[in-house]
Amino acid sequence: MRTISKKICLLGDFAVGKTSLTRRFVYDLFSDKYISTIGVRVSRKTVAIPVGGDVVELTIMLWDLGGSEEFNLMRASYLRGAVGAVLVCDLTRPGTLDMIRTYADELLSVSPGAHFVLAANKCDLIDHQRLAQEHVESTAADVNAPYYYTSAKTGDEVETLFRHLGRLLIA
């Protein structure tokens, strides 16, 4: 069994659910209370990923970055060494999808081969969704990322999302 560590970032506008997705994935926890993240919170989770006939033990270092633009200047130093990112948008706030390309470009500028997955988050808020699937799909295609409708609240597709990124990282 191979053992490797990879650094990934969670990128997206404020309050899209980056911290909640991380907490759901790492600790299987969720809180409805919104608490802003400033700076960066690093968590780690090890997942076993089958590759061919082997299994790779991948330790994912998750960098949950504050989404407020006040931290834009520091973001470059946070992004160093990241080989992938979960791009997160909020299905109830269309503007958050429009920024996805910018975040992807930011990471690509410091890590040209970076891999992405797109989390269209808060899919549990069905009545408040304001993003058409075609729009999500085209944005995902634009940044060459598979996309998932996730819910940190219910846990829908969260594990799948991170595992998909893990597979891309070790491929």
Binding site: G66, S77, R80
Partner: protein, 408 residues
């Protein structure tokens, strides 16, 4: 390689480090921690345990930054800083650290390892987080408000569209109803005038009912057309200098038969020296007529009605007041009296005809003139309605006329 003697182990250094909540670790060139000092808990609970560990094992933020550390060791990067690194303490609290990686040089000045410095900036971080939190919550609220405003605007636009559709329908319907009314009324008059033969008493009575009903229907269709025109902004006034004395007398004469029929004596109080008003004669007559008609309708047989014209308290305006000693308007109905299709409870009880459009039209017309309308009323004692018209500025009118003539 020995680092003895290089360590910041003086009492003063430790005092500074502790007061500034700074911890440090020094590594060798293989990133193995060889010395730890400063504020205790920031790096690890037990400094002895830290010794011999790999720096990235102690500092998770450095995992994946091996190239950065290599650049520092190679002298290619003088400093690397990570601000606002969040850590969760055992009791679930968040602390904030500023992490700085620097080259550590031995006595000869050669880079011998990494000097890792961690400063606890939780106090400032908490303030910053609170600020960010408030700012973000405000933005979310703003987004929500913007979204709700857009939804409201869309709903408004739809309502406007439906309202326009309704107005167009009412306008067409009123117009189509009105067209056949003219010949009906005309032929009824011909019959009543016995131009095509004499009438029996019953026939006359029935034809008079038809005539009255036709007139009511005509008034209703006129009012509906007026409302749709007012709402569409299609009412144009032909403003001219108007003698209100003559106008009120003419309206009073027009309504004379109605008032006489109900044995309601009408008193006119109009001084002879009033200046002229600036108004559209037809619309002004409609306004006064509406008020007079209402006074008659809502005053019992034998009641008294008075029309007064005077200079208004407000400079530059004339005031027409129509007073009656009729049923009055209940206090709870008064705020809605000028609403479209609203009829006061007393109006319904008296059985007087009407669609609740007269006062709405009257107010709209008076406001188009630049005047205003108001009333006082007491249940069972009567009501007084007041309207104002602007005074015609004769001097301005005469000043304009020669100039116009000169131009032509």
């Amino acid at each position: 390689m020995s680092f003895q003697g290089h360590a910041m182990d003086s009492t003063l250094s430790h005092l500074i480090l502790r007061n500034c909540e700074i911890a440090y670790a020094i590594t060798d060139d293989a990133l193995t921690v060889v010395e730890v000092g400063g504020e205790g808990d920031i790096l690890c609970n037990d400094h002895e345990v830290c010794l011999g560990q790999s720096l990235p094992d102690l500092v998770p933020e450095l995992v994946g930054l091996e190239d950065v550390l290599a650049d520092i060791l190679g002298g290619d990067l003088p400093r690397f800083e990570l601000a606002w690194a969040n850590r969760e303490t055992a009791d679930g609290q968040t602390i904030y650290l500023t992490l700085v990686e620097l080259p550590y040089r031995d006595r000869t000045g050669q880079i011998a390892g990494i000097l890792h410095v961690a400063q606890d900036v939780t106090e400032m971080g908490m303030v910053d987080r609170q600020l960010a939190q408030s700012r973000n919550e405000l933005r979310l609220l703003q987004d929500q408000l913007t979204r709700q405003n857009l939804e409201l605007a869309a709903a408004n636009a739809e309502l406007r569209r439906l309202d326009e559709l309704k107005s167009a329908f009412v306008s067409v319907a009123a117009h189509e109803l009105r067209t056949p009314l003219a010949p009906i009324r005309g032929y009824v008059e011909v019959l009543l005038d016995e131009e095509v033969g004499s009438l029996t008493g019953d026939q006359r009575e029935y034809l008079q009912i038809v005539e009255r009903s036709t007139r009511r229907l005509l008034t209703l269709t006129s009012n509906l057309l007026d409302v749709t025109r007012i709402e569409a902004g299609q009412v144009e006034l032909v403003l001219q200098s108007t003698d209100l004395h003559a106008l009120v007398e003419a309206v009073a004469a027009e309504y004379g038969p109605q008032l006489e029929g109900r044995a309601q004596p009408l008193t006119l109080r109009i001084p002879s020296d009033l200046p002229p008003a600036l108004c559209d004669e037809t619309r002004a007559a409609q306004i006064v007529g509406n008020l007079l008609s209402n006074a008659s309708k809502y005053t019992p047989r034998g009641g008294r009605i008075a029309v007064t014209v005077a200079l208004a308290e407000e400079d530059g305006f004339l005031e027409v007041s129509v007073a009656d000693n009729g049923v009055g308007i209940p206090a709870n109905d008064q705020p809605r009296l000028f609403d479209r299709f609203f009829r006061a409870q007393t109006a319904l009880l008296t059985g007087a005809s009407g669609a609740g459009l007269g006062l709405h039209i009257t107010r709209s017309l008076i406001e188009l003139h630049g005047g205003r309308i108001w009333f006082e009323s007491e249940l069972d004692k009567g009501s007084t309605f007041h309207v104002t018209f602007p005074v015609a500025d004769e001097s301005a009118l005469t000043a304009i006329e020669p100039a116009r003539s000169a131009e032509t």
